[in-house]
């Protein structure tokens, strides 16, 4: 072994981290080379100093307690992680199967369609209920009248005028306008006309309120109106109870009419139903 080789292994020689053969060669070398022996002694001294005089700090008790508390009180540090891992693994295990994936997708579609279309509930029933609610809201103050409140639902202004005139109201004020009347109603003895959203009547005068047809078309009532209109084509009438009010839906000359009346006035209703039949 020459000096250069010895210098390469000197630290490992001091630390006894070399195999016996190199160790023997190094031992022989320092026996004959004073310079390398000096280096060896200094290196040994440095090691001795560090290993004996290095003041090992002791972790302060307060820090130790703080760390242990952090770990102990957050024991889900570990479990949380493994729980997540387990969940992901389980998820992957289940979904690795193509069939499972397809059935899961189909199941999701099924649940979604049930939520949207709700086949367990007749859609017509839903439409009538909702429309009845709006009729009820508009004839609340009329529901104790002797006769049913009759309302016409149409988007044709001529049908509205005809409805009003045929029921004996004279001289209605019909402002010239591009607006189309969609709803009109008439009450007993022509004294009062039910206002839906669009007009009201006092004595023999009808005040038409204006409604933008496109705006109305965008409302859910227009949608309901169409659905109910279609459904009634095959029926004489549909009776819906709402609160203390009964509402009858009926097509007359292909125009949607409703009759609304207090549920307590059974006699008037029976008469009406008989006449409709």
């Amino acid at each position: 072994m020459n000096c250069k080789e010895f210098q390469e292994y000197i630290s490992a020689f001091v630390d006894n981290q070399i195999d016996n053969e190199i160790k023997n060669q190094a031992q022989n070398h320092i026996g004959i080379c004073p310079s390398c022996f000096f280096d060896y002694k200094i290196e040994t001294l440095a090691k001795k100093i560090v290993s004996t005089k290095f003041q090992k700090a002791i972790c302060p008790e307060s820090l130790r307690v703080k760390i242990l508390e952090t770990l102990a009180y957050n024991k889900n540090l570990a479990s949380q992680k493994s729980f997540q891992d387990k969940f992901v693994e389980l998820f992957q295990k289940i979904f690795i199967n193509k069939k499972v994936r397809i059935s899961f997708a189909l199941g999701l579609i099924l649940i979604f369609s049930i939520l949207v279309f709700n086949p367990f509930k007749s859609p017509e029933e839903k439409y009538y209920k909702e429309f009845a609610l709006s009729v009820y809201e508009n004839c609340k103050n009329l529901r104790n009248h002797k006769y049913p409140v009759k309302t016409i639902f149409t988007s044709n202004p001529e049908q509205v005028s005809q409805f009003i005139f045929s029921n004996g109201i004279k001289n209605p004020i019909m402002p010239k306008t591009d607006w189309i009347v969609t709803v009109a109603g008439i009450e007993e003895e022509n004294n009062c006309v039910l206002a839906h959203m669009l007009f009201k009547c006092e004595e023999d005068t009808v005040y038409m309120m204006q409604c933008e047809v496109d705006a109305l078309r965008n409302t859910r009532y227009y949608h309901l109106f169409q659905k109910i209109h279609n459904d009634l084509k095959n029926k004489t009438f549909v009776k819906v109870d709402h609160g203390d009010c009964t509402i009858i839906f009926r097509l007359e000359n292909d125009v949607l009419m409703t009759y609304a009346m207090s549920s307590h006035n059974n006699h008037a209703f029976e008469e009406l139903i008989t006449s409709l039949k």
């Binding site: 210098q7 390469e8 292994y9 000197i10 630290s11 490992a12 001091v14 630390d15 981290q17 310079s35 022996f37 000096f38 280096d39 002694k41 200094i42 290196e43 040994t44 001294l45 440095a46 090691k47 001795k48 100093i49 560090v50 290993s51 005089k53 290095f54 003041q55 090992k56 700090a57 002791i58 972790c59 302060p60 008790e61 307060s62 820090l63 130790r64 307690v65 703080k66 760390i67 242990l68 508390e69 952090t70 770990l71 102990a72 009180y73 957050n74 024991k75 540090l77 570990a78 992680k81 493994s82």
Partner: protein, 200 residues
């Protein structure tokens, strides 16, 4: 003093994983030391130690049972230090190794008897000065010295831990000791001079 001890509550360590308690917790002092060496600041060292244990506990299931837990913890600490602390700590002192080499060669050429030198330095040096000298070493030298001479790690463990070839571990330890010895020689010499002065 008594109040202080009373104030320290006993943490519910029985909540902890039993193997973690047996394997990882006993290395807290060694890790604290290492943290001090890395950060050179007791507050930073405390933070680093806590972060290391929290990480170790979180990833305890990743620790291969039966392997060297201490080395595993040291590695976590070193990575945490690199990620979060290195930017904040002062940059290590620049060391002119060539200059040290020149001084060392001068000492050598003074025909000093290595046996006397051993006694002269070892007996005249205080622990504080040793700590001071170690502290002044560049971090790469300091780390290998602590791992080798304080923590008793093998060269292979150090190479694995620092991810460097074993030849680099050998040369780094050798150079670190040379620098340290030179510094300590200067300390001892200055002390020897003072002693003489007082003796007069």
């Amino acid at each position: 003093m008594l109040e202080d001890t009373e104030r320290i509550r006993r943490p519910p360590i029985e909540n902890l994983d039993e193997e973690f308690r047996k394997e990882a917790l006993p290395h807290m002092d060694a890790l604290y030391n290492f943290a001090l060496q890395l950060t050179q600041d007791s507050d930073d060292a405390a933070d680093l130690l806590q972060e290391t244990y929290v990480k170790a506990y979180r990833f305890w299931d990743k620790f291969e049972k039966g392997t060297n837990c201490k080395a595993w913890l040291f590695r976590i600490m070193k990575n945490s230090f690199i990620n979060f602390y290195r930017k904040n700590t002062r940059s290590p002192e620049k060391l002119d190794y060539d200059e040290i080499e020149v001084i060392y060669e001068t000492i050598k050429s003074n025909d000093e008897n290595p046996h006397n030198l051993d006694r002269e330095i070892y007996d005249n040096i205080f622990d504080d000065e040793v700590m001071e000298a170690i502290k002044s070493l560049p971090e790469e030298f300091r780390t290998v010295l602590i791992m080798c001479d304080v923590e008793g790690m093998t060269y292979e463990e150090i190479a694995d831990f620092l991810d460097i070839p074993i030849g680099t571990v050998r040369s780094r330890i050798h150079r670190a000791r040379k620098v340290l010895a030179t510094k300590l020689y200067n300390y001892a010499k200055s002390r020897g001079y003072k002693v003489d002065e007082h003796g007069e």
